[in-house]
């Protein structure tokens, strides 16, 4: 996030840029757009970088303005990301028209391609810094001229010297007035023209009044306006306001750092191999599937693909949550957005752009930041009437004090205008939620909409799905029992010889268990006539005797032949023509740390339940192992939905945790939901959160962080309300001078942003601890 706050573009008369027409070909607009809609109605979704947005009201103006244009299906503006996402129909409008329309509204827009935004950013940063520097330097100088009056009584300084000092202060206030605070004026003016009022209107009025009163006092000390000058106040509060905005921008980019870094980690251009083996750097949009590219150490892979040469280490942490670098050999897959840490390698591209997992993650993040949470909408609604109230109070205060002196009355009004800080109110929610979302991203948790932070902080019940959620998808041999005279290794080796011929998960598990056993590994067993009976088992001939591996019915074992039947396990048997040889007890592997995660949830007074479609005894066993007391087995999806409805009727707020693959409707109907991102296409996981690495031990920390976020939002809102409630009356009764008002407002919005900054780090401890 760069400093786009100090937009200068307002001052220029809006004019359509002829260069924009270049963008009107599909080839060009696809560089910052993507196709949406269906064949009957093809639509284009473009993202634009917006400039000149100051507060929440602005985003509404642009949204409404764009929605009214022909051919525009929808327009969403993110105030905090300074981005607009516009969906439009190529038949009815074109990019240059959209850009010109935004310009007409008093903002400026650019296609959100990476290069341009960076170039703009340098320019903007310089301009912002220069404005701030002018204000600061002139403030100090003006203060010098004002200082004699701080220490002397009226009349102690000769009138002409006094006049000269005022004149000098006036001269050095001019740059502050005309240059540094220009953005306040141009923004206010544009809002007035659009029949809007916004944050900058009171500020601009306050600055204007102060300057007029002081100038009049300088050039006509005996006149109607009085003889007191306020140039020191004027320059000081412009400096304070600009400082606050500058710091805000810095803090904002700090909180959003992780997200920005993730979204923009792929370099814009890549070295592509030519037919003759040389390399040329090309823009990523020119890459296509099948291209061979060279990726240097420290760069991110531009697409999903296959490693063609060499070996390297890659860091996939932001994509999978796996923090240790992974070794990759020739022929292995690398994913877009992961970092190449080891050596320069060549890869063949297989999947590009939006279809990669990385592309989907970026899309989700951008979407989430644009969504407006409920509290934020509430603040926006309050902001407008509040500004009207401020304007009225300013007028009223001036009228009440009019008799005591015109200058004093006007300066009181200016103080009222400057001290108010609706910014703190409208920043309170988005600043905190975005900081928190960025902390989530750092831990491999994606959030679909910011509103989900509020939702997950309210839950009282957690329902887990079993397979893929509490347990890994693969099943494992936990124990085996064998006939007397047969060793475990022999049994495993024989079973494995059969099992390795099948792809069934249980067969894979048996084969895997044999591989893990060195003794069994050492035995070689050759089988003839191996065949699989689907859904029952495997059979073959070993040393001319039939050998079977499979269910009890398939192998023909009877319960009286079995040594130890254990209902906790799913069992398969190994038999030959003499009867039972061995029993393998299989169990789904429960994910690491699951029991601790469940214990942490229960400690936080949350009801934890397990709903599973599996057999009663497996579910009971899993529940016992992870410490869940309430469980329901053999649930059809419908049963799960009904259970959820039942809880809803009791007024419970349910968090549903599922694998996101088979339980879409159930996840969607819960109050809030978490899906496991492993192996599931992200766009299909219909959940509010996606755990990229599928590690459910993140859930307690996630809930805790969401609760902390809500606490901080409440603190922020409370602070904004209290600040305004205390300071406006103070200014109204002329107890605050304009510079104090400026300082108050500047610190007030900074406090909100600083408070939100506390959320950009995740902390691990129990859910209800640390009442911040």
């Amino acid at each position: 996030m760069e400093s786009h706050l100090f937009s200068d573009t307002h001052s220029d008369e809006p004019q359509a840029n002829p260069a924009w027409t270049i963008l009107d070909t599909p080839e060009q607009w696809m560089r910052f757009s993507q196709s949406v809609g269906d064949e009957a109605q093809p639509l284009v979704q473009s993202s634009l970088l917006l400039d000149g947005l100051r507060c929440a009201a602005c985003s509404g103006t642009v949204e409404r303005g764009l929605s009214g244009l022909p051919g525009i299906v929808s327009a969403r503006v993110s105030m905090s990301k300074k981005r607009a996402v516009v969906v439009w129909s190529a038949e009815l409008t074109q990019p240059s028209t959209i850009l010109a329309a935004i310009q007409k509204m008093g903002y400026s827009a650019n296609p959100a391609s990476h290069n341009e935004s960076q170039l703009n950013a340098t320019q903007k940063n310089r301009a912002a810094f220069w404005r701030w520097l002018v204000a600061g330097f002139c403030m100090m100088q003006v203060m010098m001229y004002a200082s004699p009056s701080y220490f002397t009584k009226t009349g102690e300084i000769e009138t002409d010297i006094n006049l000269l000092l005022n004149w000098a202060a006036w001269l050095l206030s001019l740059p502050v007035m005309l240059f540094s605070s220009r953005s306040f004026f141009s923004n206010a003016w544009h809002d007035l023209k659009a029949k809007q009022i916004s944050m900058d209107l009171p500020v601009a009025l306050g600055i204007g009044i102060t300057f007029v009163v002081s100038s009049a006092a300088t050039f006509d000390p005996s006149g109607w306006w009085g003889d007191v000058v306020y140039f020191d106040s004027l320059t000081m509060f412009v400096f304070f306001l600009l400082s606050a905005r500058l710091i805000e921008v810095k803090l904002h980019s700090k909180t959003l750092g992780a997200m920005e870094a993730l979204v923009s980690r792929i370099p814009e251009n890549t070295e592509r191999q030519n037919a003759d083996g040389s390399y040329t750097r090309v823009i990523n949009s020119q890459l296509s599937v099948g291209d061979i590219v060279r990726v240097n150490t420290g760069e991110a892979f531009p697409a999903d693909g296959l490693l063609l040469s060499g070996q390297t280490k890659v860091d996939e942490s932001l994509l999978t949550g796996e923090s240790t670098p992974i070794h990759k050999n020739k022929g292995e897959h690398v994913v877009a957005g992961s970092y190449n840490l080891g050596a320069t390698v060549n890869m063949r591209l297989e999947t590009l752009g939006e279809s990669t997992q990385y592309g989907q993650i970026v899309q989700l993040i951008n979407q989430a930041a644009i969504e407006k949470p409920r509290l934020s909408q509430l603040a926006d609604r309050v902001a407008r009437p509040f500004l009207f109230f401020i304007l009225l109070s300013a007028v009223l205060s001036a009228v009440l004090l009019w008799e005591q002196g015109h200058g004093l009355a006007l300066m009181t009004a200016a103080a009222v205008l400057i001290v108010t800080c609706p910014c703190a109110l409208s920043l309170a929610t988005p600043a905190a939620m975005l900081a928190s979302a960025s902390a989530f991203v750092k831990r491999g948790i994606l959030i679909r909409h910011l509103q989900a932070i509020e939702s997950i902080a309210q839950i009282d019940t957690v329902i887990f799905d079993k397979t893929g959620t509490l347990t890994d998808n693969h099943i494992a041999v936990k124990s085996l029992s064998v006939k007397d005279g047969l060793s475990e290794a022999q049994a495993l080796a024989m079973a494995s010889a059969l099992a390795s011929q099948s792809m069934h998960p249980i067969a894979t598990a048996v084969a895997y268990a044999a591989k893990q056993n060195p003794l069994a590994n050492a035995l070689t067993i050759t089988l003839d006539q191996v065949e699989e009976q689907v859904g029952a088992g495997m059979q073959g001939r070993f040393e001319q005797r039939p050998l079977k591996l499979g269910s009890a019915a398939f192998c023909g074992v009877h319960s009286d032949q079995l040594q130890a039947s254990d209902e906790r396990y799913q069992q398969v048997y190994l038999t030959d023509d003499s009867g039972w040889l061995a029993t393998f007890n299989l169990q789904e592997a429960i994910k690491a740390n699951t029991a601790q995660a469940i214990a942490a949830l229960q400690q936080a007074q949350l009801d934890v339940e397990l709903l599973s479609g599996d057999q009663w005894h497996t579910v009971k066993n899993t529940a016992a192992l992870v410490g869940i007391k309430v469980f329901q087995a053999a649930c059809s999806p419908n049963d799960k939905l009904q259970r959820l409805q039942g809880l809803k009727l009791q007024g419970k707020k349910v968090l549903m945790v599922g694998d996101g693959l088979n339980d879409g409707p159930i996840l969607a109907s819960a109050h809030v939901s978490i899906a496991m991102g492993k192996g599931v296409p992200l766009t299909l996981a219909h959940a509010d959160y996606v755990l990229l690495n599928g590690d459910i031990s993140e859930i307690p920390a996630l809930i805790k962080h969401a609760k902390k976020t809500m606490r901080i939002i409440k603190q922020n809102i409370a602070w904004a309300v209290i600040y305004n409630a205390v300071c406006i009356p103070l200014a109204f009764f002329a107890w605050l001078s304009p510079w104090q008002a400026g300082l108050g407002m500047a610190t007030s919005s900074l406090i909100v942003v600083l408070n939100a900054l506390r959320l950009s780090q995740f902390s691990h401890s129990s859910i209800n601890s640390s009442k911040a």
């Binding site: 330097f137 000269l164 000098a168």
Partner: protein, 47 residues
Amino acid sequence: MDILFVLIPLSVVLALVVLAGLWWAVYRGQFEDIEEEGRRIFEEDKE
């Protein structure tokens, strides 16, 4: 105290000169990378 009639205008002029210097510095990118220049002192001279 008549000298003040010279000194005060002079201070204004000086302030404007300093401002011009600052403008030059900002737009020449002098403030863009503050740390790098400090670090460069410690680097070996390349001959």
